[in-house]
């Protein structure tokens, strides 16, 4: 059992992603092939049509803003017509298109790409990193998402996993994962609060931990509060100063805006450790009309940054207080408060958390802890003797639409899963023979403001006056988080049910098509990668052999053996050079073998004869 297939934990972040694994009972982060712990969640297509992911994609973002997709997590699983997407369209440098069923597509290179495909590119990169580290294939993963993600967004993330060739065993919430990692490392017993202020969102969770059982008590947060809002304050400040000085609005220039964004983020990060930093952006703006380019030079102090962003930091702490109040937990009851997400490095955030709650726990790496938690959950699922058990909750309320356009909640948010609830409803009209059950997710009392997860019709009800026919509606969430809803006519026993599969924006056929397309691509890609490997191997051995030839000729002189060996070696080299041009893997491997033999022979000759000569 020690050798079951490895399962990785992935933190698919808004700005950066991390992959981790439990090995020998200890979770650890896997470095990417560039040797870094964080892989930027950026995907790009170059003008040459080449797809780039991670650092390579991020590095060229400035010069290729229209074909570089970042922060796609803010878009995934949302409807194109939603207010968030319409707002995002105005600020993002890349182009968003409407898919066939109100889903979002991104124009990347010459074709529109769905968001699960974008995320899949990142997941695939992480998967390859894990495979390179382990030296074996990886097909299973636990992936984290923000606690506020609805079923559609979770499904879209799962789809992304499938496209990347990963079976996503479980989707868990980021703050939950953080608490898992923290509690696992410290052997904590008691209540833990997790304050996760990341690039785009704030998530707060409270967990009750006892001897490896992690019970999620409450979770909440704000979808529109994160590091980027802090960056935007700095950008605004720089843009205003620039406009005052030169009368130019930099926000109209996409390239300048991208550079400002990078500079603002860097300045913000630097100010977590130093008191003052310089922002220098030479040749930021070239006015039309041939005058010389304008440069931006500014100096930002920590005090100024805190002045610009104090309200944001304070709001984050207030939201955390609300979540604690909802969980009926006082700050004094908390055993630990764990800070997660890059933004919590900001001294102001740290100070406010300390003032409102308590001194945050140290020694956790805020950017790694989520991936580590995902790896721990992956390990706990597959290892029968694991001490870790996660009692997770539903992130959002589930209910049905009722007459008048309202929502009747059946399962409240923060209910432990698996769970099921049955409630009795009545017909609302005289002579009503069918009812439509619309399954909703969200916290609003108004039906239309919630997410519609699915609907079905129960028909064949007996003719009766309104309110006489009774219908039992049952909601069931199983351990995998799959929701099924059934409706039953109490009298006749007539029953209808559905398994709610939220749409992540792609239909089943579309997903299948992508997978099929990809299957061809994958096969091709992996073959060509191996061919490339062999070619380089062949080339390098050929060079070595060639380099040794003159020395061997000199040492062996005119001996029969020497002449024979050299003639053979020359023949092999010539054939190898021909083979280099082919893509036949077996042929290449063959010639590599032959050359290797020659090389071993030559090395032996040189060693023996060379030693004798000295």
């Amino acid at each position: 059992m020690a050798d079951h297939e490895p399962v990785i934990g992935i933190d698919l972040g808004t700005t950066n992603s991390v992959v981790a694994l439990v090995q020998g009972g200890q979770p650890q982060v896997i470095k990417n092939r560039a040797g870094q712990l964080l892989t930027p969640s950026v995907v790009a297509v170059t003008s040459g049509g080449k797809r780039l992911v991670g650092h390579l994609a991020k590095r060229q973002a400035i010069t290729n803003p229209e074909n570089t997709v970042y922060a796609s997590k803010r878009l995934i699983g949302r409807k194109f017509s939603s207010a968030q997407i319409q707002k995002a369209r105005e600020v993002l440098p890349y182009h968003l298109l409407c898919g066939e069923h109100d889903d979002v597509r991104v124009q990347l290179g010459d074709r529109p790409v769905s968001l699960p495909e974008v995320s899949a590119a990142v997941l695939q990169e992480l998967r390859k990193d894990a495979e390179a580290y382990l030296g074996r294939t990886v097909t299973k993963a636990v992936v984290t998402v923000p606690a506020y993600f609805n079923d559609g967004q979770r499904q879209a993330t799962k789809d992304a996993g499938r496209i990347a060739g990963l079976d996503v065993l479980r989707i868990i919430n980021e703050p939950t994962a953080a608490a898992l990692a923290y509690g696992f490392a410290r052997n904590v017993n008691g209540k833990i609060a997790v304050f996760d202020l990341g690039g785009g969102t704030l998530d707060v969770s409270v967990l009750d931990v006892s001897k490896g059982v992690f019970e999620v008590v409450s979770t909440g947060g704000d979808t529109y509060l994160g590091g980027e809002d802090f960056d935007n304050r700095i950008i605004e400040w720089l843009v205003m100063a620039f406009a005052k000085e030169h009368g130019v609005d930099l926000r109209k220039d996409r390239m300048a805006l991208q550079r400002l964004k990078d500079a603002a983020e860097r300045a913000k990060m630097e100010l977590s450790t130093v008191q003052e930093t310089a922002i220098n952006l030479p040749f930021l703006y070239t006015p039309s009309g041939g005058t010389s380019a304008l440069h931006l030079q500014a100096s930002l102090t920590r005090a100024k940054l805190e002045e610009l962003t104090r309200d944001l930091a304070e709001r984050s702490v207030q939201i955390a207080e609300q979540v604690l109040a909802e969980a009926k937990v006082r700050a004094a009851d908390l055993k630990e408060i764990v800070l997660v997400g890059g933004m919590t490095r900001m001294p102001l955030v740290h100070a406010l958390v300390t003032r409102h709650f308590k001194e945050p726990s140290r020694g956790v790496h805020p950017e790694e802890v989520v991936a580590l938690g995902a790896a721990i959950q992956a390990d706990a699922l597959l290892r029968p003797d694991s001490q870790v058990l996660l009692l997770d909750v539903t992130p959002q309320s589930l209910g049905v639409a009722i007459a008048g356009g309202y929502t009747r909640r059946l399962i409240g948010k923060n209910t432990t899963v698996p769970t099921s609830v049955t409630e009795t409803f009545h017909t609302s009209r005289d002579g009503q023979t069918t009812v439509k059950i619309m399954v909703l997710q969200g916290e609003s009392d108004l039906a239309h403001q919630n997410e519609l997860l699915g609907e079905f019709i129960l028909s064949g009800l007996r003719l009766a006056t309104r309110g006489e026919v009774e219908i039992d509606v049952t909601f069931d969430i199983n351990a995998e988080g799959i929701v099924s809803v059934s409706a039953r006519d109490r009298e006749t026993g007539l029953q209808q049910s559905i398994i709610v599969t939220a749409s992540g924006g792609l239909t089943d056929t579309e997903l299948k098509n992508i997978l099929d397309d990809q299957a061809d691509l994958l096969l091709e890609a992996s073959a060509s990668a191996e061919v490339l490997n062999k070619r380089t191997a062949l080339e390098s051995v050929a060079k070595e052999v060639e380099a040794m030839m003159p020395q061997v000729r000199q040492l062996t002189g005119n001996s029969e053996f020497g002449r024979d060996a050299l003639r053979k070696a020359e023949a092999v080299l010539t054939s190898s050079k021909v083979a280099l041009k082919s893509s036949d893997l077996i042929l290449l491997a063959d010639w590599v073998d032959q050359l290797e033999k020659t090389r071993t022979l030559f090395v032996g000759v040189l060693e023996r004869l060379g030693a004798r000569q000295q």
Binding site: D208, V213, E215, L382, P384, L389, P418, T419, A479
Partner: protein, 321 residues
Amino acid sequence: MLSENVPPNTDQEAALAEAVELPLDRKREILAREAALGEDHYAVLGLKPGATKQQVSAAYHEASRVFHPDRYFGKQLGSYQGRLERVFRRLAEAHATLVDDAKRDAYLKANPRLRVAAAAAGPVRPPTTEDAAARAAERRARLARHPYLARGAQAKTLVEEAKSQLQSGAPERALGLLHRAQQLDPRAKSSASVRSQAEAQKNAERAKAELAHARELAAAGDGAGALSAYREVLALEPSSHEAALAAAQMLFRTGTPAEARTFAQKAVDLRPDHVGSLVLLGTVCSLLGMNKVARRHLESALARDADNAEAKQLLKKLRWV
């Protein structure tokens, strides 16, 4: 092996025989729990009524370790998949009810038998905040009825009455009430601010009356009387621009520019953009030989009213001095 004293149950035997990836002991445990799902919330968690929240949480966590479906992830469970989920749901329901004060109280109310048992077993509940608030209110009412403290209460009602008199514009009457309150309870501090308000209101009223009187006197030609009335107004209402300006004009006319200047300055201080006041101050200053100051005031008058002939003429004259 089934224990001998349990009557053979064919359903259970079939379930035990089911080929799933679970040890026999575990199968038995699950079946036993499933058979007991109808028990009360405490019994389901293996607890006695009246168990504390900590005990409920601990029992729930302990049972979850065995019955949460995730413990058997990826295993072939057959009918046990459903059984485990049913057991765990019941555990979660019991836990959720018993750790929430409101839900637990409602549950106990609906199950009187448990409530009695819980009350017998449970520790004495600390008084709730609601009880404490009711008791404090009663204590306050009792104290208020005490004769010694009654005077304070009476004084308070007088102050309240004074406040309402003040609002209806009768400061004299309010002051009378406050005086009585002061005598009843000399330590009452709350009346101080009301008193100062009443006094301010009274002064304002008197100032208004005096101002009217001064105007009458001035119209009748009684300069000296008017002047002293204006002075009185200013003493009561130091912010009266009209009184200051009128007094200054009168003093200027009677040929006492030094005194006139004090009042003119006051008028300018009160309304720095009033052209008449500025011109008067300038004129008075030039009479006193303070040419530079005079010029400044006249210039600022002209800045506000460029066509003021008096100021222009005077300024022209001053330039040649």
